[in-house]
Symmetry: C2
Subunit: 201 residues, 2 copies
């Protein structure tokens, strides 16, 4: 089996939400594992010297419209979150705990985090809301998850993922790494599909 | 016939070069005129409060690789320009003169400017090189074109196009406006295609 695909994403990134199910399907079809790497995008952008796209009103207005249109284009449920922007550190720390303790549920946990934010409009800073969303993905050790959200071990795992993203050249979310080749954005899915089919082009 | 589509582009934008032939074909197929609006992207980004994407090394490295890969993906000839970044004010002023004096050659002139920069590696700051490229698009009034490049009337036309772009919410190149709906990037062509087919979605 070929090397895993790294899927760097922030759970508050709508384009990562749009990409996730399609990328999972592409990886499966091409016999590749998909390794979710949740990050806090703002920490990576800061490390790379990139201003948040929301800093400009014109760009922010464009993106808010484009997010809703892209959701319709992909046929995915979506509402603009009440808590936007936000920090997804609780959900991301929880991810690394799930990856360790229940790896076969990790992808479902990831999708549940996106849906919680972009469909059910939770506040990602509320640990109970994150735990409720995780339960929908079959994560039943609620106490374990809540503890993991505040545990130095998973704080460090999230920090390490951010550092790895920075080193790998991540410059936005989603950012997909395939055999050292980086693809930024949900709109690179057609290029990813061809790359996987032809082992590069 | 429905309203014209506005194609805001900088002649030094590789993604505008990739989009131009496809967008022309889409417009033609849907009975829409395509109105090229060459701009100086940096002036619009500055007005919108957006930093140049090349300011970050990680983002610049990504884009340089993505440009070449996207050219292969679209099957278009491409080489990274020797003069990059640059200012395309001569080619853009010339465009507005051509649009006035030989409107049926305006689109060919636009494509010739992209090819001159991304295939034949000209220096866009050299008026003679721009005039050579224009000749390939059937612009034979060389003296007229060279004069237009320095004429206040066409300087003002370019300035007006940049102001219109800023007012329309342009936040990058290419930026396509269809009936008030903006689409940023060559990677929005699939959404543009659906928008034209369904009059919105």
């Amino acid at each position: 089996m070929s090397a895993a695909i790294d899927f760097y994403c922030d759970f508050a990134s709508p384009y990562a939400y749009f990409a996730a199910p399609r990328l999972s399907e592409l990886a499966r079809r091409h016999g590749r594992a998909l390794r979710w790497r949740p990050i806090l995008l703002w920490t990576v952008l800061q490390a790379q010297g990139i201003a948040t796209p929301l800093a400009s009103k014109a760009r922010s207005d464009y993106l808010i419209n484009d997010m809703a249109r892209s959701a319709r284009f992909y046929g995915m449920p979506y509402r603009f979150p009440s808590h936007f922007p936000t920090s997804t550190h609780l959900a991301a720390r929880g991810y690394y705990w799930v990856e360790q303790t229940a790896p076969d549920r990790a992808a479902a946990y990831g999708m549940a985090m996106f849906e919680a934010y972009f469909v059910h409009d939770i506040n990602p800073r509320d640990p109970e809301a994150v735990a409720d969303a995780a339960a929908k993905a079959g994560i039943n050790d609620r106490a374990g998850l809540l503890a993991a959200m505040q545990d130095d071990r998973w704080k460090a795992a999230l920090k390490a993922a951010g550092d790895a993203a920075t080193s790998a050249g991540v410059c936005g979310s989603p950012f997909t790494m395939i055999d050292g080749e980086g693809f930024f954005g949900a709109d690179r899915l057609p290029q990813i599909e061809r790359w996987l089919a032809e082992n590069g082009f």
